[in-house]
């Protein structure tokens, strides 16, 4: 994954509460067993007046010329609620978004963002809702700079490390293999019932 250090872009506003993952990528757009090819279905229900024919809705933010090329998305409260589908983040990332600034995120969506190199920032999005303004996100410094002002933001250590290093979390965890093995063998001793049942197979 590409490390996330700084990002300078305009921001596209979608400041509504409870934008759920069904809205970000409707189920019917998840046609194949793949993480790719999802960006055309991003926000399909809002973005097109005719979804099947892909007729753009000129009112929708992503179709407005002033927001073309935006790599930052602004959201309201509880952004990414609903289904756990990671397709929502895959679609956003493939479309070009690398950061979402929202009043709040659903926890699964937030985790999915971090695992896919998309930075979720919890802040009031309204100050950044200025068409044409370039917004600079500096993850190592944990601040956003725009129009001569600076806003600090919080992010947990683990997420920051994953994003700034562009780490593959599986590779990182596998380095702890011996500790995982040790935990497991101790657990087999102390909770045999949790393990023995796994071989019980067919219905009794």
């Amino acid at each position: 994954m590409e490390p996330f250090l700084t990002l300078t872009s305009i921001a596209a506003p979608l400041i509504r509460d409870n934008v759920d993952t069904d809205a970000i990528i409707p189920s019917r757009e998840m046609k194949s067993v793949s993480k790719r090819g999802l960006s055309a279905g991003l926000f399909a229900g809002w973005r097109y007046t005719d979804v099947d024919a892909r007729v753009p809705n000129p009112e929708f933010v992503l179709n407005r010329p002033e927001y073309a090329g935006a790599r930052i998305l602004l959201g309201g409260a509880n952004f990414g609620s609903g289904s756990s589908r990671e397709h929502a983040v895959w679609a956003l990332a493939e479309y070009g978004f690398r950061a979402v600034i929202a009043a709040g995120f659903s926890p699964i969506f937030r985790g999915n963002c971090i695992r896919n190199g998309v930075l979720p920032i919890v802040l009031d999005p309204r100050p950044f809702n200025e068409p044409g303004h370039q917004i600079e996100i500096d993850l190592p410094a944990q601040e956003i700079r725009a129009a001569g002002q600076t806003w600090p933001f919080d992010i947990d250590e683990e997420a920051k490390l994953m994003l700034t290093e562009g780490l593959d979390p599986i590779a990182l965890t596998l380095l702890d293999g011996p500790m995982i093995d040790a935990h497991e063998s101790a657990d087999r001793q102390s909770r045999p019932w949790a393990w023995s049942v796994l071989s019980q197979g067919e219905p009794a």
Binding site: D17, N18, G82, E86, E158, T173, I180, E184, V197, L198
Partner: protein
């Protein structure tokens, strides 16, 4: 130090602390995962991506796979689906699960069904275990005293490859519910009440422990219904301390411990409760007597109100309702084609749906059948019952419930998620008003532009008979 139930579950599975956390960040732990559940819609992708990265499943014996999301629920189904590319998901998942050596509950298997129904009924989930699934309603299974939560596909890959997850330690909230639920008030009504009161973000980043005399008195299936909707609060998950009812419910099920192991398990489970002086980040107290039968009126589960009430006015919210915004309120009214102050009872419906991981277990079907017996679905209403699992279906048929549903005019389906969500296949139709025992009333959740009202099985059955939203406590009026 006094510990909560969650603390005990966390500590027992903590391989090591990855970061200690500060200022409200609870830190991150490497947590051992005891069970991984997958379904064909998101699980197949996780297995495939893992294969493509050249990694193996660490321990296939801990991995269970079912077909529930895109599989058809029409009688006589096979691998062909109404969803245009559904067969690809079924085949890819079957092949990947087989190659990985996971346990697969395939189409035709008596253990097949909705993942959050089959895991408890086969005792795959047990008190004290950690369990994950790339599905947001995994919180359902916390009702058994396990730490069970929904994850994304990449996290599922991580759990499959390493047997662990890197988890941000959530904050903790206890919701204590005390007293008796009134006659005719169900766990679903309680779940809708909690979401309406705490709001769609009301549990954000918290693990919720449901406790109190009301919870202790709830049957296990009802506990699952309540925990199912914790994700609608944006909670990390929900958990209920296991007790004698939990053990009695699990005993003898397929993957329940036996013999000496059963005794050891009972001893371990007896420790799984919150210590008397443990401290939570947040406490909420609810009086069960305040809960009435509920129905949703809007496009978020939070937008629910007492069945006998009215669509709320933005200007005069109910005293115990979570805050909302004019934008969210107005948008929901337009989508649902409702005006403020409209009575909810009496709204004409086009369809009724009984199914989903919230409310498609045997007691749910019994409750609905009790109302349907000797009655007929109103003319013009499409009514569908989809049992939560093949086993629920068989048990219901053994009691003759299928005959009651069919005689009333309901369709009686094969087990699966069906029209709980719209996969691109079957739908209720644009602007059709559906009363449904499911958990999400989002825009287009049950089909493009479909209007969903969430309610209990009893309310859905009564409404199907009446052809309009109806009160199951007033059957003589039907």
């Amino acid at each position: 130090m006094a510990r909560t139930l969650f603390d005990k579950l966390w500590d027992a599975h903590l391989v090591r602390n990855l970061s200690s956390g500060e200022d409200g960040d609870g830190g991150t732990g490497l947590i051992a995962i005891d069970r991984i559940l997958l379904h064909e819609r998101t699980g197949g992708i996780a297995l495939k991506a893992l294969e493509e990265s050249g990694r193996d499943v660490r321990d296939p014996s801990r991995v269970f796979v079912t077909m529930d999301h895109v599989v058809d629920t029409l009688p006589g189904r096979g691998d062909r689906t109404i969803m245009p590319t559904g067969t690809d998901f079924i085949l890819a998942t079957r092949e990947a699960a087989t190659r990985a050596g996971a346990t697969l509950f395939d189409i035709g298997d008596p253990r097949q069904g909705i993942v959050h129904v089959i895991s408890p009924e086969n005792a795959i989930v047990l008190p004290g275990l950690t369990l994950v699934c790339p599905d947001s309603h995994t919180c359902t299974q916390g009702a058994l005293g396990a730490l069970a939560w929904g994850i994304g596909s990449s996290e599922a890959e991580h759990a499959l490859a390493t047997g662990t997850l890197r988890v941000n330690r959530p904050k903790q909230m206890r919701v204590t519910i005390s007293g008796d639920l009134a006659e005719g008030v169900t766990a679903k009504d309680l779940a809708l009440y909690v979401v309406a009161r705490l709001g769609s973000g009301g549990g954000r980043a918290h693990v919720i422990e449901y406790a109190g005399s009301t919870i202790e008195a709830l049957p296990i299936e009802a506990r699952m219904t309540l925990c199912n909707m914790a994700t609608e609060l944006a909670a990390f998950t929900a958990v209920i301390a296991p007790d004698a009812s939990t053990a009695a419910w699990l005993e003898g099920r397929t993957y329940a411990p036996r013999g000496e192991d059963w005794q050891a398990a009972l001893a371990a489970w007896a420790q799984l409760s919150t210590d008397a002086d443990a401290v939570f980040d947040r406490e909420v107290a609810i009086d069960a007597a305040d809960v009435a039968p509920m129905v949703s009126w809007g496009t978020a589960p939070q937008q629910s109100a007492p069945l006998a009430g009215r669509v709320p006015r933005l200007a005069e919210p109910a005293a115990d309702a979570a805050p909302t915004t004019p934008e969210a309120h107005g948008r929901a009214l337009v989508y649902m084609d409702l005006a403020e102050d409209t009575a909810l009872l009496g709204l004409a419906i086009d369809a009724a749906f009984i199914g989903s991981c919230t409310n498609a277990r045997l007691p749910d079907l019994r409750a609905a059948a009790g109302i349907l017996a000797g009655r007929k679905v109103a003319a013009g209403v499409r009514a569908i019952c989809v049992p939560g699992s093949t086993r629920v279906k068989a048990e219901a048929e053994a009691e003759g419930l299928d005959k009651v549903f069919l005689a009333a005019g309901f369709e009686w389906r094969e087990a699966g998620c069906s029209m709980c969500f719209f996969s691109g296949g079957e739908s209720f139709g644009e602007e059709e008003r559906v009363i449904s025992t499911t958990n999400r009333n989002f825009e287009s959740r049950q089909g493009p532009r479909t209007r969903t009202h969430l309610a209990s099985p009893a309310t859905v059955a009564a409404s199907a008979i009446a052809g309009r939203i109806a009160d199951p406590r007033k059957l003589e009026a039907l």
